[in-house]
């Protein structure tokens, strides 16, 4: 259900006012549709006539919902966190040239009337928006916008070259898979290219099952044609006849936008029979998967498209025999976007960034305990500290960063003292984490590492397909041991068992899910051993999160004796006279935490 609004063109042009409203899943969730309605009402009331343009999202989620106003004589200005009722005021003031309340101006070099330029804001300046250059600027559902910014020029160039030359360019670029493993893209293409088979497939992996990772969604919802162009180039390179874009059911808007893009590409002759007059014919279908984290893994993804349900042992690798037994290349959304951009802007623009081992930029979703949650595209090799502190604004006041979780459930935790590590495949690997999809969750001192490890293990356990023994039972046992640690009934040997079991699961699992599931546990165990020992030996949770190890007391100073907590305690463990301080009988208390929630004066304190 997308609320794509088809607005008719304005009746009278006064000052060619353009209003850009971002309609991506996250902005919609933040209320962009209501803002859009109030803007239309306001324009009607003010009798102004303007072109309201739908755009994707810039990736600065903490701004949602934001709008952008532009007209002749005035620079395009961005207003952040717009409430529906404020829309009218903003437009009226803007038309009169008063930009007070704006966040930033997009194009002026040194700001305009006191409003800073977007580039001066650190979260924009430090970014290299190579692949997400159009995000939040062009209308994702109009191919003309994309063509105007040089869209499909990469495809035209590629079709002029031979298939081997295309692969050669990708090899020279040093592009590596952005899905997580960092496998050299050209190598997959070369293997698939060499296979002699009449039917070959190319699949764009948009499953993105990692919780806390939404850069693929942002890219596909804001600039779908770039992804499509990359897919077509890939199809051409290996001589495929059919392509799929694999999207999860939980992201319907992404699938809709891609379908619109495919239809438009077909109308403009970039898809279908004899593309752009060459003899290469190629068609794409958007496949909506029914949602399973394991589908991020190649063979499980192929199984999903074939209507089956489980990964299978590799080899044979998909490049030799994948979808329905035919050679198949599977690339991540971001990788294909990079391919398209490389062909559009040339090699040296790409190789300018990144380290010598892995070139180019990577989009990171910085979430968790940071002021400016968002998607930031930075060259590979940037330090984690710059990403967390300078770009994402560091933790909110009163909190301090304890660790950074990189790579989602298959990644690991990097402690605060290692924040100067560079974000690239090999360095992260050697410190027990993986680049993964690029999800980067900042954990602060109010979170407990055992609880974080337990969360990831329960997530992977729920997602485990149950086919191979180490993952099905091993991860469950890891979860049980962590449960014992969190409830203070574990022993020190259990910690040793955790480490040993984790390593053996990683070594003997069938697919990458089991192969990386113990990473969070092993990395938290490696860097935060003292927290584990505190849970086991002292039976105390330093961050006061693990409910079984937390004791609830009532702070007599703040307790007014209102009796709310006593009424709501399921085991009636709280007693006292009205007006005087109440007391909790810790022997009866089951630590359910209801009293803490109910207490109007915040008198209940976690000990």
């Amino acid at each position: 259900m997308s609320e794509a609004l088809e607005l008719g063109s304005g009746t009278r042009k006064i000052s060619e006012l353009i209003v850009r409203v971002p309609l991506a899943s996250c902005t919609l969730a933040a209320g962009a549709s209501k803002v859009l309605e109030s803007i239309e009402k306001a324009l009607g009331k003010l009798g102004l006539e303007a072109r309201v343009k739908k755009t994707g999202c810039m990736g600065l989620c903490y701004l949602d919902p934001w709008i952008e106003l532009e007209s002749r004589g005035l620079p395009p200005t961005i207003y952040a966190n717009v409430k529906p009722e404020q829309a009218e005021g903003i437009i009226r003031r803007y038309v009169e040239g008063d930009l007070s309340g704006a966040l930033a101006v997009r194009s002026e070099a040194s700001g305009f009337k006191g409003v800073p330029t977007l580039n001066s804001l650190p979260e924009w300046r430090l970014q290299v928006r190579y692949v997400s250059r159009n995000c939040g600027f062009i209308d994702p559902e109009s191919i003309e916008d994309y063509l105007r910014t040089g869209g499909y020029s990469g495809l035209k160039k590629a079709l002029k070259l031979g298939r081997e030359e295309v692969i050669e360019i990708v090899r020279k670029s040093g592009l590596r898979g952005r899905g997580g493993a960092g496998f050299p893209t050209w190598y997959k293409w070369r293997v698939a290219y060499e296979q002699r088979s009449d039917v070959k497939y190319v699949i764009c992996n948009g499953d993105e099952g990692d919780p806390g990772a939404f850069m693929n969604r942002l890219l596909a919802e804001s600039d779908p044609h770039r992804v499509l162009e990359g897919l077509i180039i890939a199809g051409y390179a290996i001589g495929a006849s059919r392509g799929y874009i694999f999207v999860r059911a939980e992201k319907p808007l992404m699938a809709d936008r891609l379908e619109v893009a495919v239809r438009q590409a077909r109308d403009y002759g970039f898809l279908g029979e004899k593309i752009l007059g060459t003899d290469f014919s190629f068609d794409v279908e958007v496949y909506r998967s029914a949602g399973a984290f394991v589908c991020g893994e190649e063979t499980a993804l192929i199984a999903a498209i074939e209507g089956r349900s489980r990964p299978r042992q590799r080899p044979p690798y998909p490049a030799t025999s994948g979808l329905w037994g035919k050679p198949t290349v599977i690339n991540n959304v971001e990788t294909l976007a990079h391919v398209a951009t490389i062909f559009q802007t040339g090699l040296d623009e790409f190789t300018k960034y990144g380290t010598e081992r892995s070139k180019g930029t990577k989009m990171f979703c910085v979430t968790g305990s940071v002021r400016k949650t968002g998607v930031y595209e930075v060259p590979i090799g940037t330090k984690i500290r710059t990403l967390v502190y300078e770009l994402a604004g560091g933790p909110p006041d009163g909190r301090s960063v304890k660790a950074v979780q990189v790579g989602g459930p298959s990644g690991g935790c990097i402690p605060a003292d290692l924040l100067d590590l560079e974000l690239d495949y090999e360095t992260l690997q050697s410190y027990g984490a993986i680049m993964g999809s690029g999800g980067l969750v900042v954990i602060d001192n109010t979170n407990c590492m055992v609880d974080v490890a337990k969360y990831f293990i329960t997530f992977t356990l729920a997602e485990s397909c149950g086919k191979c023994l180490p993952c099905r039972v091993g991860v469950k046992v890891l979860g049980d041991i962590l449960e014992k640690v969190a409830s203070g009934t574990a022993t020190l040997e259990d910690l040793e068992l955790l480490r040993e079991l984790g390593e053996s699961i990683m070594r003997s699992s069938l697919c990458a899910l089991g192969g990386t599931a113990p990473n969070p546990v092993l990395s938290t165990l490696r860097y935060f051993k003292n927290e584990y020992e505190e849970h086991v030996v002292m039976r105390r949770c330093p961050a006061k999160v693990c409910s079984r190890l937390v004791t609830y007391e009532i702070d007599p100073a703040r307790c007014r004796g209102c009796g709310q907590c006593a009424k709501n305690c399921p085991v009636s463990a709280i007693s006292g006279q009205p007006g005087k301080a109440f007391k909790i009988d810790t022997s009866r208390c089951t630590k359910c935490g209801q009293c803490l929630i109910i207490c109007p004066f915040g008198a209940v304190v976690k000990g």
Partner: protein
Amino acid sequence: MVKVYVNNNEVEVSQDALVIDAVEKAGYEVPTLCYLKGLFNEATCRICVVKVNGKVVPSCRFPVFEGARIIVDDSELRRLRRVNLELLLATHEIKCWSCVRKGMCELLSLSKRLGVEGIPVCSECPLRGRSCLVLKGFPCLGPLTVAGCDAECPRRGSPCIGCRGYIMSEDVWVRALEEFYKDNVSLNELKSLISFFWSYLPQNLYRLVREVSNVEY
């Protein structure tokens, strides 16, 4: 035909052979559980893991390639197989005394071969259900002792006195003590028999025995 090296001796196998065929051809034998030749090799149990060029792979499913260096057995592989079997036993409801597959079960032969302690002596004990000593009320530690001795004592009619050590997992103990309780084996005698060889019991088992026999131990 493809040339592969199994533990450094060369073997010639057909192009589309699997690692397990090459290993068998070289005269070695890999423990397998879920592998049925020609019928099922989905590599789910991971007991048949070997190392090919240093990478741990399931031999029942991994295709051979020219010059593959296969290592059939080393300390890490043994550890992996043992951990996997222990995981499997953790999910298996071990009630060998009343199990229909008594003695002929693959788990028993594998655990003996890999040295995993989880299957009790009852799995090898020939006394069919009727003549089982526990059923007759005799204290016999078969359900709690690690298999491997081919149930020498029960085989000759005398109770198992646990000379091979006890099984560590708590659920086996709970089920065994329930069985003892059901056949009203005198728990005092059982307790003194337990203290025969196993004077030290870990805390949880120690508490378990005392709970069931509610006698100061």
